[in-house]
Amino acid sequence: MLFGPSVGHKKPLIFKIPHLAEFLVFVYALWISTYAMFFVTFFLQPNLIMASYTLKINSKTYTVEADPKMPLLWAIRDLAGLTGTKYGCGIAQCGACTVHMGGQPVRSCSIPVSVAAGKDLTTIEGLSADNTHPVQQAWIKEQVPQCGYCQSGQIMAATALLKKTPNPTDKDIDTAMQGHICRCGTYPRIRKAIKTASQIMNQKASAK
């Protein structure tokens, strides 16, 4: 037998069936709505127009001049100058660009700047600059990062998961994190670190 393009890996779409439903509910719902907005923007705005937008990132206000279709990712990195958020694929496959919009994890590579304008945005820089956020502490304790490139996205996703599910099960973790690629293969430590972060958060809560 020879190799052919047809002999590739056949998984249904990106994700395995058992998790698909939950994944759609928890993560994609927001993207679908933003995609809809994207197309509205795309069709209603004539091409090649620059406009002024106000971005609220980490409680700071940035006024940027941009093409309405410019993905939020590039506005954050190149216009606001916050380079902690990373480009990995540009097509919502890897999660490297994950930020929070209105408290929800979203893929900034697939949201036009025009849609994100005015919304509350949090990037990795907004978690804490001094690594005091429990998820950052857990990431350090478990020594998660290797190259580190995917980790901003991983941490933003984990933070959103823990906010909604303070004591996640293994399955909760896999479901929430399966949209995030780590080429260095830090997945075993991501699992551990999310549990550690959950413990740190619980300790902090009970200390109060």
Partner: protein, 719 residues
């Protein structure tokens, strides 16, 4: 010998950090190429250089230079951790900086072949101990006491009888004027305080708050961004382009043809240069390009593999390593076996796509980027850009993955050419699609293995491999030369215990660029060699681990097998419970892995657990080793069961992570890694964990289901 290299001269410099007039000088460690003294170009604010790696300012702040690339494998920790041990400083108090490209100063900086620790640890231990002894001598002179009454600890020299102490900052100016001692005592490993300890990595804090600077995070005043439409067929030429629409995109400043050096040829494309990445990408979308793709073959994957298989059937190949008489021994064997194994082409797909920033300024060129070999970039670009090597300044950023791809110098060249053409600093960003489709790729391979058994032992063994030889792409390569990596992955003692063997290769000469991919040839050899070893064990009616043990007489290998047997619970497993084993050797480290698979409720196979035992000899940080083996296992699971690059009409088919899928958290089993403690020579850490996995997995599937998988990748859902 050593004394010759210890030449030293002093340069007076004003340190911006301390405001004091300081002396900068350093000596070259044994083995460095040039024995002359040069001034450190980065040392201005770091204090006094005691040598190329160590600077101390007058306050006692120690700066350690990491001369190698940090791409996740941990050199940013390992190099300083080695130095801190003999220098007697606390790693938490030192500042770590990246070196610029300068192999006259540091020796080779190419970060590949898992060579950082194994290639430099002796040198680093020695020069750190030398610096310590110089500091001790300086203190002894100040106190006017014998140096033997003094010792160093935690950044201080202490006079034992009186308890007086100086911190290193108070001594460094004097110390740097001393002639370095020719021989220095090195610690016994049992006295190590820093080495062998799982000390948290110094780069972790930067990597959890977004402050680590990767290639794409580099910003320069007035910097432009470029994306390049490159010919999707390697060796294709640019015929012409129409940039009418591109020029209308706001922000687009220049559209220029560009050629970058790739092995013995140039890759051609058209660069769109704009004031933002987004504008450049938009401009590229409406660019019309015409290619000239005549004069070379446009392959499909089917054709490539058909040619490799034909070669294996009809040719003997270029002989690399033989002993005895394979044919005669096979004739006399009790049992004979033959099998063919296939592995796919793969993309490196680092999470950080290839990118590079260059600023050409007429008489000099400065480069910033995720670069595995800054000195290699200097060597390549010097003739191409017509600049002396020292006028090419190469700065390493953190690398968002490397895996061999970023040891290649095409993209710095491309960035330099574009910067020169537009007369501005330029950051060239490869989109994920560019990164996935342009290669260089791991070469696809086909292996034909045959063997004979006599009295339950291997009496004859033959392996022929067909596939592209990476060395054959370089200018002036001898294309009839054998592949020196034909036996990579095969365990050394087998060459003793197998009486008759033959290894040869059949180079495939096709226009597809190929390149080292984490663990290089061992990444695919390991699958063939260790699958076939399993098939031989089954034929011999032996337990697969015992069968290997029987052929691996050396104590070091026996220890590893015993450890693997113990940690994986191998002896207690039930028949056909789904256990598989594989052991390979790569870059002087030996790694054994056991995989356990089982059937899920729906009857499909899943991977439950992987146990790994790593013997890399002398080592630095057990936690980094565990992390590297975990990561290697995940990457190997991907290459075995998730992704492959295919070609159609001379172009790569898979473009982004929607088709070139990556292993995800849901594909990741539990992984348990053990590190062997011994005093063997240091071996590699970043790569050797990868080669054994695929065969351990398919051997486990055979154990569970009786089905032998000889071709990668395969879909676990379809086993």
């Amino acid at each position: 010998m050593e004394t010759k290299n210890l030449t030293r001269r002093n340069f007076i410099k004003l340190s911006s950090l301390t405001g004091a007039a300081l002396t900068i000088g350093f000596y070259f460690p044994t083995g460095a190429k040039a024995a002359e003294v040069m001034k450190s170009e980065t040392a201005d604010n770091l204090g006094i250089d005691l040598n190329a790696w160590i600077s101390i300012d007058t306050n006692g702040k120690v700066t350690i230079t990491n001369h190698r690339a940090e791409m996740g494998q941990g050199s940013f920790q390992s190099v300083p951790q080695i130095i801190a041990e003999e220098l007697e400083v606390d790693l938490n108090d030192v500042r770590i900086v990246f070196a610029q490209g300068n192999n006259a100063k540091y020796g080779s900086q190419i970060t590949g072949g898992s060579s950082t620790v194994r290639g430099t640890y002796k040198k680093l231990l020695h020069l750190s101990a030398t610096a310590r002894e110089m500091l001790i001598e300086a203190a002894a002179k100040k106190w006017n006491v014998p140096a033997s009454e003094c010792y160093a600890e935690n950044g201080h020299v202490i006079h034992k009888p009186s308890g007086k102490k100086f911190n290193y900052g108070e001594l460094v100016a004097d110390a740097s004027k001393l002639t370095p001692p020719t021989s220095v005592p090195l610690k016994d490993p049992k006295d190590y305080k820093v080495l062998r300890k799982p000390i948290p990595r110094q780069d972790t804090p930067l990597k959890v708050n977004g402050t680590a600077t990767f290639g794409m995070d580099k910003k320069l005043p007035g910097m432009l961004y470029a994306v390049v439409e490159r010919n999707p067929r390697f060796q294709g030429k640019l015929k012409g382009f129409d940039d009418t629409e591109t020029k209308k995109v706001p922000g687009v400043k220049h559209v220029i043809p560009v050629k970058m050096s790739v092995f013995n040829t140039f890759r051609e494309g058209v660069a769109v240069v704009a004031d933002s990445i987004w504008s450049a990408m938009q401009g590229r979308k409406v660019l019309k390009v015409e290619w000239d793709d005549s004069g070379f073959e446009h392959f499909s994957t089917e054709q490539l593999y058909a040619r490799m298989n034909d070669d294996l059937k009809t040719k003997d190949g270029l002989s690399f390593r033989t002993k005895g008489n394979f044919a005669a021994a096979l004739e006399k064997a009790d049992k004979k076996l033959e099998a063919t194994y296939e592995t796919p082409y793969e993309s490196h797909s680092c999470m950080e796509p290839v990118n590079c920033t260059a600023h050409y300024q007429g008489d000099k060129l400065e480069i910033w980027g995720p670069i595995q070999g800054p000195d290699w970039v200097q060597d390549l670009l010097s003739p191409l850009m017509d600049l002396p090597k020292e006028k090419i300044i190469v700065n390493m950023t953190f690398l968002g993955g490397g895996f061999g791809r970023k040891a290649f110098m095409d993209y710095p060249h491309e960035a330099a050419v574009i910067s020169k053409a537009v007369n501005a600093p330029v950051q060239v960003v490869w989109t994920r699609e560019d990164d996935t489709t342009q290669g260089p790729f791991r070469p696809g391979m086909v292996y034909q293995c045959s063997g004979g058994l006599k009295d339950g032992r291997i009496s004859a063994y033959k392996a022929k491999l067909a596939g592209q030889n990476m060395d054959h792409q370089w200018p002036g390569a001898q294309k009839d030369s054998y592949n020196g990596s034909t036996t990579e992955g095969f365990l050394e003692p087998y060459f003793e215990s197998i009486p008759h063997y033959s290894f040869s290769d059949l180079p495939l000469d096709v226009p597809i660029p190929v390149m080292w991919w984490r663990s290089v040839y061992a990444s695919t050899n390991g699958f063939a060699f260790e699958s076939f070893m399993d098939e031989l064990a089954v034929q011999a009616g032996k337990d697969p681990l015992d069968f290997r043990r029987q052929h691996l007489g050396e104590e070091r290998y026996q220890t590893l097998i015993n450890r693997l047997e113990e940690v994986s619970g191998w002896k207690n497993r039930k028949k056909n419970e789904g256990y598989g084993v594989s052991i390979t050797e790569c870059f002087s480290s030996i790694v054994g892995e056991v995989v356990k698979v089982s059937k899920k409720a729906d009857g499909k196979v899943k991977v439950d657990k992987v146990w790994a035992v790593m013997d890399c000899g002398w080592y630095v940080n057990p936690d980094i080793i565990r992390a590297q083996v975990e990561g290697s296992i995940v990457m190997a699971i991907g290459a075995a069961t998730v992704h492959a690059t295919h070609f159609n009409d001379g172009k790569a088919v898979e473009q982004n992570f929607n088709t070139y899928k990556m292993p995800r958290i849901t594909d990741t089993p539990e992984i348990e890694v053990h590190v062997v403690d011994n005093e063997e020579k240091a071996g590699g850490v970043g790569e050797p964990g990868l080669p054994p996995l695929s065969a351990a997995l398919t051997n486990a599937i055979f154990d569970l289901t009786g089905k032998r998988i000889r071709k990668l990748p395969f879909n676990l859902e379809e086993v």
